[in-house]
Assembly symmetry: C2
Homo-oligomer: 221 residues x 2
C-alpha cells in the first residue's frame, strides 16, 4: 500500500463525488454565492494542461440579453441536431430528441462559456502530432469544476449544442480562439440518480468490460 494514500474517509469522498456527479439540465434560479463560484473557477485552473499551456478561458455571462442570445443560438442548433438525428436514425428518434431537455441556460444561477485560448499554434509540447490536446486540457478543467460543484451541492451541465463560429462571433472572440462549452451552473432541486439520458430511456449504457482490452485492440463484443 502506498504511503501517499489518503485516509479511508477522504478516499470515500473522492469516489462518492465521482459517482454522484451528473450532467444537469434542470436548475433552480437561486444565485450561486460568489465565493463558491470563485472556488469552482480555482479548481479549473488547477487542472493539468499539455506543456503547461493553460489553454482554458472562461467568459462569465452576467448580461441578461447575452444569456438570451446564447439560448437562441443553442436552440437553433438543437433543431439542426434534431434533423440530423432524423436523417441518421429515423423520425421517431428525432421526435424523441425534441422532447428531451438538453440545457438549462435560462434557469441556471450562473452561465459560463469555456473556450480554447487564441494563439495556440505557438504551443508544440505534447501537441505536434495531437493538436487536440488543448481540448483535452480544458475538458480536465471542466471535470474538476463539475466535481467541486457537486461537492458544494451545485449542479453543472455542459452544453455543446451550438455553432462555435456563431458563438465566437457573439462573444467577440478572436478567430483562433474557440468556445467548446456553455456551462450551466446552479442550485438544483434533485440530482438525477442515473445520467438523464439513461433515466429518460434515450440510451442504455454499456458495461466497462466492453471498454477494456489487453495489449492490442480486441473488442469484447
Amino acid at each position: 500500500m502506498s504511503t501517499h494514500r489518503y485516509s479511508e474517509e477522504e478516499i470515500a469522498a473522492v469516489y462518492r463525488v465521482i459517482a454522484e456527479r451528473r450532467d444537469m439540465r434542470h436548475f433552480l434560479p437561486d444565485p450561486v454565492a460568489p465565493e463558491v463560484l470563485s472556488r469552482i473557477l480555482q479548481v479549473a485552473h488547477q487542472a493539468p494542461s499539455v506543456g503547461l499551456m493553460q489553454p482554458w478561458r472562461f467568459i462569465r455571462i452576467t448580461d441578461a440579453n447575452m444569456r438570451q442570445a446564447i439560448h437562441k443560438l443553442v436552440d437553433e442548433e438543437r433543431i439542426q441536431t434534431a434533423y440530423a438525428i432524423g436523417e441518421n436514425e429515423n423520425a421517431d428518434r428525432m421526435a424523441e430528441f425534441l422532447r428531451l431537455k438538453v440545457e438549462g441556460i435560462l434557469e441556471c444561477g450562473e452561465l459560463l462559456v469555456a473556450t480554447l485560448c487564441d494563439k495556440r499554434d505557438a504551443h508544440v509540447f505534447g501537441r505536434r502530432t495531437l493538436p487536440e490536446m488543448d481540448i483535452a486540457s480544458v475538458s480536465c478543467a471542466i471535470q474538476n469544476m463539475w466535481l467541486a460543484a457537486r461537492a458544494e451541492g451545485l449542479g453543472m451541465g455542459w452544453v455543446s449544442i451550438f455553432d462555435p463560429i456563431k458563438l465566437g462571433a457573439l462573444l467577440h472572440m478572436p478567430q483562433d480562439a474557440k468556445p467548446i462549452a456553455v456551462l450551466c451552473l446552479g442550485h438544483v432541486s434533485t440530482f438525477y440518480k442515473s445520467p438523464m439520458l439513461v433515466e429518460t430511456g434515450w440510451k442504455q449504457p454499456r458495461p466497462l468490460a466492453d471498454m477494456v482490452m489487453e495489449n492490442t485492440w480486441k473488442p469484447h463484443a
Copy 2:
C-alpha cells in the same frame, strides 16, 4: 446554502485531491494492486460523455515487448518535438526540452493506452458542430482516473508525445479509432509540489485572473 452540499470533511477531500494531483513522470517499479487498477478504471467509466456516447476504450499493456515498442515510438516523437521546438523557439530551448523527463513508460507499474472508439460518426447528439466532444469525454474520464489514483496514493502521467497513426497500427486499432493518451500509472517516491514543468523552470504558470472575462472576450493583459 444547498441541501445537497457534502460534509465539510468530504468537500475538503475533494479540493485536496484536485490540488494535489500531478502529471507524473517519475515512478517506482512496484506493481499496482489489481483491485486498485479496477477501481481506477471504474471511475473512468463514471465520466460524463456527450450523448452518453462512452467513447473511451482502454488497452492495458501487459506484454513487455509491447511496452518497449510503445516507448520507442514515444522516444522517436520526443526527438521530432525537440526539433520543432528548436524551429519555433531556439536551440537553447530545444536543448532544455531534451533534458526534461517527459514520460515514465518503462518504469511505471501499469501502462494503459486510452483511445477514442471506432464508428464515432454514428453519434450526432452534441457533436454535429463539435465532433471533438468525443475527446472531451475521454479527457473527463482520464481526469477522474488521475484524481482517484492520487487519493489511492498512486501517480499517473498522460503522455501525448507519439504519432497516433503509428501507435494505432502497433496496437492493431481500426483506422477510425484513435489513441489519445499513453497513461503511466504507478507508485511514486514523492509527488511534485508544483507541476514538474514549473519545478524545472520550463515555464511559469499564469494566474487565474488572466483567464476569466465577462460577457465578451476582453483579455486581462
